[in-house]
Symmetry: C2
Subunit: 227 residues, 2 copies
């Protein structure tokens, strides 16, 4: 079965990147073409990438059996630099700000890709609910969880674990593509305004978490908290 052989290849390459030969070459060509198209704002189907890369549809589908696989590959490709990034500061708020400054422009650059990924996740979720398609991973917790936890790591000792997690969770609400959707598409803000609001919210949350831990427990959590 040539098929299962080639299917396996898609996975093998994940492990051994330096693979040589026509397979790897064609795959890279497709990946680069797809990345280029997506950076231009498109959300190309496998067929469209095939045409743009000047390979046949059949070949394209051999390497990327679905648009989902394609998008995922582009996301991984484009997100690489973020994942290894480290803030130089050891102040939590500063680190979070640094993370946002680094990640948000990159997310914006790959906006179409991230939106496509979100859309596909929603698709998969819907199928899952419908009964079709069994125990797949459904929503893949991207990298945001780890990135944020790492950013607020300096608070790990100073905050109760519960509060630490709550902060990480709250921050993750203002970190992903959803921010772009809400602030740019719905509110009509520009990139600068979007980053500004996200930064402010992030800072406010970090400060709130720290402040609470200082003046003891839920000092600010009672009804209105009149300061």
């Amino acid at each position: 079965m040539g098929i299962s052989r080639q299917q396996a290849t898609t996975d093998d390459d994940a492990g051994e990147r330096a693979e040589r030969g026509p397979r790897a070459r064609t795959k890279r060509l497709m990946l680069e073409t797809a990345t280029r198209l997506m950076q231009a704002g498109a959300t190309p189907s496998v067929s469209e990438v095939a045409e743009a890369a000047e390979v046949s549809r059949a070949t394209a589908y051999r390497y990327f059996p679905s648009q989902a696989a394609l998008v995922q590959a582009v996301v991984d490709e484009g997100l690489g630099p973020i994942l290894t990034w480290q803030s130089t500061s050891d102040d939590a708020e500063r680190r979070v700000a640094d993370l946002f400054d680094n990640a948000m422009p990159r997310i914006e650059a790959f906006e179409a890709t991230f939106k496509a990924a979100l859309k596909l996740s929603l698709d998969q979720w819907a199928r899952r609910q419908a009964g079709t398609l069994g125990g797949e991973p459904a929503f893949t917790r991207g990298h945001r969880v780890d990135l944020l936890k790492e950013a607020i790591a300096p608070l790990k000792g100073r905050l109760p674990p519960r509060d630490f997690n709550r902060l990480a969770q709250a921050l993750s609400l203002i970190f992903g593509v959803e921010v772009l959707i809400v602030l740019k598409d719905i509110w009509g803000l520009d990139s600068r305004g979007t980053r500004f609001v996200a930064q402010w919210a992030a800072g406010a949350l970090v400060r709130a978490a720290v402040a609470e831990s200082i003046d003891g427990g839920d000092g600010a959590n009672t009804a209105a908290v009149v300061k």
Copy 2:
């Protein structure tokens, strides 16, 4: 000719709800069937609703020309009660908390519907980027903007307009379905945990906005985001 007549009906009904006759009856039947299916977690296509409601595909498509129209109708139907709701308090933080308490369970009850709506918006956005489909509304700013602005209305006088908007924008990041996606699907929280985190974050943001305005400008904004 018959078509444009019936097409118009879809719009007319929005204005005159009490319409009588077979048209309204069938439409309601479909809407209720669709709502039932979606509450059960499904994201039915027009054809599926047609089958469940025991009307022909052709008829179904006359009333809801696309899945998007169907979802939109169900959203409006299910969201109605929220839109007219009013908090009895005049404390901003309390009002926001009330809003969340009221809206979040309802959003959860219609989770599949909201996710479908988000997915369709992303779809439309992608098509738009691709050049196909012209000047459509793209992302329809739902009701969240108005709801939140209304909730924090008590701060309208006490906060500079710029800060007021920033707060509304930040709050809208932790208000929609996206919250469910991030906290339930990605983090794996349950409904209670999700509401808890969202509530905490909302309160923290409101308090931060108020506190800043009190101790004058950007008293807490020093470290990050200098502008």
